[in-house]
């Protein structure tokens, strides 16, 4: 508190406006603006979550009040448990996200290692080829992807989503990871080689060293996979393969007039992601900036 006052005193005198009132306002102003935008960003979410725990009359009568003993109700969650299969949607989303991430990180790390470690003919060109996918949305090839998936007998399976998301996630992963792998000192690798380690062994030595980068990339590619509507809708629209996003979309469409159920379904889709976000936000933010500014 005191150090910030000193700072502000300095900047206030520098600009020649050091009245006590003026400098109090100058300190307050940023907070007013930030609080205003933070409220806009969070209140809609809070409103949905809070109202999902209320009975119907309270949702409409007092939407801004918290659930009270008189208005508390789990009606919406009951509807969901009885009439939908949210547990399975979660399972499907979890499977698709985890398997895709594993494949992206494993094959992406291997390719990044090769691109950053060896000099071979066409290495630059291959790097560029793999980077193409950063800017081109994979969705534009959807028609042919659907034919391909149908031809491989993968339509309406979770594996269809896994392979497409893996292809989608690889370009950025390789782009970021190869930059980090280049920074690993070559003495380390050479020492291992002198000790007789194979190239595969060297790779396994390097991976733990870029773990922070891998974690960053992981969080960063996870969100679009978990949240995607387009590919589940097109490649795996049958009910047993619904992901949370597609399941919520279908469920919300059907139960549009059952406000308790809709609010509860939205809450179930929101809360896990926000909990994960709260845990991983630092890594995610680092990933976002690393991916876009390099």
């Amino acid at each position: 508190m005191s150090s910030s006052t000193v700072q502000h005193n300095i900047s206030a005198t520098q600009t020649g406006r050091s009245t006590a009132m003026g400098h109090f306002l100058r300190r307050l102003a940023p907070h007013i603006v930030l609080l205003f935008f933070t409220a806009i960003a969070t209140l809609p979410i809070v409103l949905i979550v809070v109202n999902s725990f209320k009975n119907r009359s309270a949702i409409f009568g007092t939407p801004f009040a918290p659930p009270l003993p008189g208005s508390f109700s789990l009606e919406g969650y009951n509807t969901i448990v009885n009439q939908s299969d949210f547990g399975r949607y979660f399972g499907n989303s979890l499977f698709v996200t985890l398997v895709s991430m594993t494949l992206i990180l494993l094959t992406g790390a291997m390719a990044s290692f090769a691109l950053s470690e060896y000099r071979f003919r066409g290495a630059t060109l291959l790097g560029l080829y793999l980077a193409l996918g950063i800017m081109i949305p994979i969705r534009l090839g959807t028609v042919s992807i659907l034919y391909l998936i149908v031809g491989m007998n993968l339509a309406n399976t979770l594996w269809a989503l896994v392979v497409v998301y893996t292809a989608q996630g690889l370009p950025l992963t390789i782009f970021i990871l190869s930059q980090f792998m280049r920074q690993v000192p070559s003495e380390l690798k050479d020492a291992a080689r002198i000790d007789g380690a194979s190239e595969y062994r060297v790779f396994r030595l390097i991976v733990p060293l870029v773990r922070p980068a891998i974690a960053t990339v992981a969080v960063f590619i996870m969100i679009p996979i978990w949240n995607d509507l387009w590919f589940p809708l097109i490649l795996a629209p049958s009910e047993h393969t619904w992901t949370v996003t597609l399941g919520a979309q279908q469920f919300l469409g059907q139960f549009v007039s059952d406000w308790n159920a809709v609010l509860a379904a939205l809450t179930l889709a929101i809360v896990p992601i926000l909990v994960l976000y709260a845990i991983f936000s630092r890594q995610l933010i680092r990933g976002l900036t690393a991916g876009a500014t390099k």
């Binding site: 996918g133 387009w230 926000l274």
Partner: protein, 309 residues
């Protein structure tokens, strides 16, 4: 013998490292894109079905009275969608970044985390959240306006032809404003404090110091934010589909190129899907995105000076 041994063996390990990623990427991303390009040059219906027809599908899409209004309408809507993001999302993102970049600020991390939170959510969920909040049935939006004495302004914005697209654009802005905020913040954090201090000592106010010292330094990020907004906006689909369905009503007023692509490919109501025309729409989106990216790479990046800090 000796010479043979000193020749390098075939680098199997390089192939092993590269093959899985290159194969998956080529099969499921690059090949479908090329195959889509091929499909867009093939006839879709009637006698020409399956035959090479050159650019005829493109000609149909751009001029045929059945197709052209939808395409140009979606393109126009997409440009409005993009313009609203550029005029609202990115300036607010910049403002928030500047505020968060203040030397002394309590609660910086909390603000940053909360402001970025909506970006985490699925677009589908965001669409439904706002559908509920703006719904005249629930009356939350109307109630809030009444609270500040503007109750008369409330209208069912999502349902009106004139306001549906701007409303959906602002919902998208609400969700994604955290991205430009973070990118601008990173760029601002990289600027050494001495530069700012020097300007202040020379008598420049905060406003002046920002526009003449900091803003020129973050111009490269302005370019990145613009191109990311552009690519994201011309690829948008989920929000419109989840709020308005594939028909992008009322009366196609919220139709974007993404929903047009989906409708053309899959069909809707009585109209059957038309894969070759679908790929033609996709390739038009591709050309638009490519034009944007190339403009950025060859015009913006060449013109803008990047300072090593």
């Amino acid at each position: 013998m000796r010479q043979q041994r000193s020749r390098k063996p075939f680098p199997t390990h390089i192939v092993v490292f590269l093959l899985p990623a290159v194969a998956i990427y080529t099969i499921f991303m690059i090949w479908p894109l090329l195959d889509s390009l091929r499909l867009s040059l093939v006839g879709g219906s009637g006698a020409q079905a399956g035959q090479f027809v050159g650019l005829q599908n493109y000609h149909t899409l751009l001029t045929d009275p059945q197709w052209a209004p939808r395409f140009w309408g979606a393109l126009r809507n997409n440009l409005i969608f993009f313009a609203i993001h550029m005029l609202v999302q990115n300036p607010i993102g910049l403002l928030l970044a500047v505020l968060l970049n203040a030397r002394v600020l309590r609660g910086r991390a909390i603000y940053r985390t909360l402001l970025f939170a909506p970006t985490m959510l699925s677009v589908v969920i965001v669409g439904f959240i706002w559908q509920l909040i703006l719904s005249p049935l629930w009356g939350v939006a109307g109630g809030m306006l009444k609270l500040v004495g503007l109750g008369g302004l409330y209208q069912p914005w999502l349902g009106l032809e004139r306001t549906a697209l701007p409303t959906l654009s602002l919902i998208s802005v609400w969700q994604f404003v955290g991205i430009p905020m973070m990118l601008f913040l990173t760029a601002l954090l990289a600027i050494p404090e001495e530069l700012d201090e020097a300007a202040r000592v020379d008598g420049a106010g905060a406003w002046r110091a920002f526009w003449s010292i900091k803003f020129p330094l973050i111009l490269p990020t302005v370019g990145i934010v613009t191109v990311l907004t552009f690519v994201g906006n011309f690829n948008a689909f989920d929000l419109i589909y989840s709020v308005k369905g594939a028909l992008a009503g009322p009366n196609f007023s919220t139709d974007l190129l993404g929903t047009l692509f989906y409708r053309t490919f899959f069909g809707f109501q009585l109209q059957a899907g038309n894969p070759p025309m679908g790929t033609t729409v996709a390739m038009m989106i591709f050309l638009i995105i490519l034009a944007g990216v190339l403009l950025y790479l060859f015009v913006w990046q060449r013109r803008v000076l990047t300072y090593e800090l």
